[in-house]
């Protein structure tokens, strides 16, 4: 059966692409990573360096939404809130202990993983629309909570919010902006590796079965509840990691960065970029942070980015379930193997 036939049977949602490794895909990956890490940082001005850093950070967060949407068909509208959780815990840890950044960020990522699992717990019994709504409520609730508590910035007490901010220093390996961009790229590769390892292992097979039919999965002895919760934990973990990196880049965080609308937008862009392919999340990160800045650069009102995103989302959902990444790959596939009829 071709990929397209599979797609149609699943109501327009693509199933996991085949597991076979295509040599050119690996090549593209290696070239992209090398470009991002070694060469690109040399050619950017200060503004664009910062924009790219935050794009890569949100790429990391998007890998979480993508894994839930593509592997389990679950819509999570609270990802940016989980980024906030990770950032909050990372800052809290640093102000309390002064430990190196990496340890704080890992603790933050674990905390976000736990919170993500808690938000996802209802998904063990609820699916589809209701789950999306629960995550939306969680995102809206987090926005209000964090506006009230603010982020720790050297104050006293558990909340640690002060009027004058103490900045958390950059991670040791990312003191300059150029170094920081390389640093977040390396973390992004690690996050991708973590997700990919899961996809290829036990969890990936369990997810594929659950996606097909929960009944079949149960009959086959898959612990459905565990593997769904595991998906949420993983998604929360990468979100928390992104939050830690965001805190590490800027040194302080502000509640206005994490409204529910951003969570919703990140999910929308995950679909637009393409959830079924790793390139898609790079697209998501770029669309989320770089596209508005780019439009500003060429003199187009940044608000029009929303119009483009909205149209892109409708287009992706109605006609192109694999998003921009899918369309790019289709193009490449057409060039490299003209015999394949699409």
């Amino acid at each position: 059966m071709t990929d397209d036939a599979l797609r149609d049977k699943n109501g327009g949602m693509a199933v996991a692409p085949s597991f076979r490794l295509q040599r050119w895909r690996v090549l593209v990956a290696v070239v992209a990573v090398a470009l991002a890490i070694v060469i690109v940082p040399l050619f950017l001005n200060a503004l664009w360096l910062r924009i790219l850093i935050s794009s890569v950070i949100f790429t990391i967060a998007a890998t979480g939404t993508a894994v839930l949407y593509a592997r389990l068909g679950l819509v999570s509208l609270a990802q940016v809130a989980l980024v906030g959780v990770g950032g909050w815990v990372t800052l809290r840890m640093w102000h309390a202990t002064g430990l190196p950044f990496e340890i704080n960020a890992l603790v933050g990522a674990f905390a976000a993983g736990v919170v993500g699992t808690l938000i996802g717990l209802p998904a063990l019994r609820m699916r589809g629309l209701y789950l999306a709504l629960i995550t939306l409520m969680a995102a809206a609730g987090f926005q209000i909570l964090v506006t009230g508590t603010q982020f720790p910035n050297g104050g006293t007490g558990v909340l640690g919010a002060a009027v004058n901010s103490v900045f958390m220093p950059r991670p040791f390996l990312g003191r300059s902006d150029t170094a920081m961009l390389r640093y977040v790229c390396v973390i992004a590769v690690l996050a991708y590796a973590l997700i990919e390892a899961n996809r290829r292992g036990h969890s990936g097979r369990a997810w594929a079965l659950i996606r097909k039919s929960e009944a079949c999965a149960m009959a086959a002895g898959v612990n459905v509840a565990f593997y769904k919760a595991w998906g949420f934990a993983l998604s929360g973990f990468v979100a928390g990691l992104a939050g830690g990196l965001l805190a590490g880049t800027i040194g302080v965080l502000d509640a206005t960065t994490f409204p529910a609308s951003e969570s919703v937008l990140l999910f929308a862009l995950t679909v637009v970029g393409g959830a079924y392919n790793w390139i898609g999340q790079i697209m998501t990160g770029l669309l989320f942070r770089a596209a508005p800045a780019f439009l500003n650069d060429i003199g187009v009102d940044g608000n029009l980015a929303y119009v483009i995103f909205g149209a892109g989302l409708l287009h992706a959902i109605i006609t192109a379930p694999n998003g921009i990444a899918g369309q790019m790959l289709d193009l490449v596939a057409r060039w490299t193997s003209p015999s394949v009829k699409r």
């Binding site: 063990l124 409520m137 909205g310």
Partner: protein
């Protein structure tokens, strides 16, 4: 009464808007299976155009009419052009698609009306009356009464008219209804129409009572969904009760000092708890009905 009364009245007015928006969502969801996340954006566009017309000194009825007509037209446009393309997809995919529509409308509204402090004032603000020693403005009374009237009117419509009957048929079993010759698109058009009118009206009311700001109005859809969840996305009376209750809880907690900064989270907490409560007896489903 004193402070309690003031916050109760304020809460009932905001709660009425939540309820009204929730009812618009429920009416649409029941007949079409679409949870319209662009609902707030429709109202936002309407309210912003009303504000603009007011700035240009157009007569006020024109502003009212423009707000409601525009929201209705936008609602119908999606219902007739985009929604049919997704008729056979899962509910969550349909909902996500409306998110795209919301982003388009929000982007356009933000483009024309950049973030700035604004005030929308309607003639009902000047009217008002005293009840038990509290002054109640006409807008608050109107929001409350219109919500009651809309709930009642729609319930009667669903119960007693032919289109209402067909809407209920669609809500029960879409495929069977269509097989029995119900013109699905025509009935759905009515749902989009009602929902659009309600969206325009609640946008106008919210713009007056809170503030006319595209983003704030667009994300008014989140508490509206909370109200609709109280009604399980099905029941109009429960949605009404839910919306009013959420508004009152949100407003009254202003009086409890330690949690006052977090009071606007009340709708989401209540809605999340209700969702958890509703699914308490569910098991992992074998048939894919969400």
């Amino acid at each position: 009464m004193g402070a309690y009364g003031i916050f109760l009245v304020a809460g009932l007015a905001v709660g009425a808007i939540y309820a009204l928006s929730g009812i618009g969502l429920v009416v649409l969801y029941r007949s079409t299976g679409i949870l319209n996340l662009a609902y707030g954006a429709l109202g936002a566009m309407g309210a912003m155009v009303a504000w603009q017309l007011e700035q240009w000194n157009y007569p006020e009825p024109a502003a009212w009419a423009a707000a409601i007509l525009l929201a209705t037209a936008l609602s119908l446009a999606y219902g007739l052009l985009a929604a049919p393309l997704l008729a056979y997809r899962e509910p969550v995919v349909k909902a996500v698609a409306t998110l795209g529509y919301a982003l388009i409308i929000l982007g356009i509204a933000n483009y024309f009306w950049v973030e700035a402090p604004r005030r929308l004032s309607l003639f009902t603000d000047q009217m008002g009356f005293s009840l038990l020693g509290l002054r109640i403005t006409g807008t608050r009374a109107l929001a409350f009464l219109a919500t009651l009237a809309a709930t009642f009117g729609i319930a009667v419509f669903l119960k007693w008219t032919r289109v209402g009957l067909l809407m209920r048929a669609l809500a029960d079993r879409r495929d069977l209804s269509s097989m029995l010759g119900v013109s699905v698109l025509r009935v759905e058009t009515f749902a989009w129409l009602f929902s659009g009118i309600l969206a325009g009206f609640s946008g106008l009311m919210f713009g007056d009572l809170v503030r006319p700001n595209p983003a704030a109005l667009t994300f008014l859809v989140i508490p509206a969904i909370a109200a609709a969840i109280v009604g399980r996305l099905q029941s109009l009376p429960m949605t009404l009760a839910g919306g009013l209750l959420l508004g009152v809880i949100e407003s009254m907690t202003t009086l409890i000092k330690p949690i006052a900064p977090y009071r606007t989270a009340a709708p989401f907490i209540v809605a999340a708890l209700i969702l958890l409560w509703l699914q308490r007896k569910r098991r992992l489903t074998f048939v894919g009905n969400d």
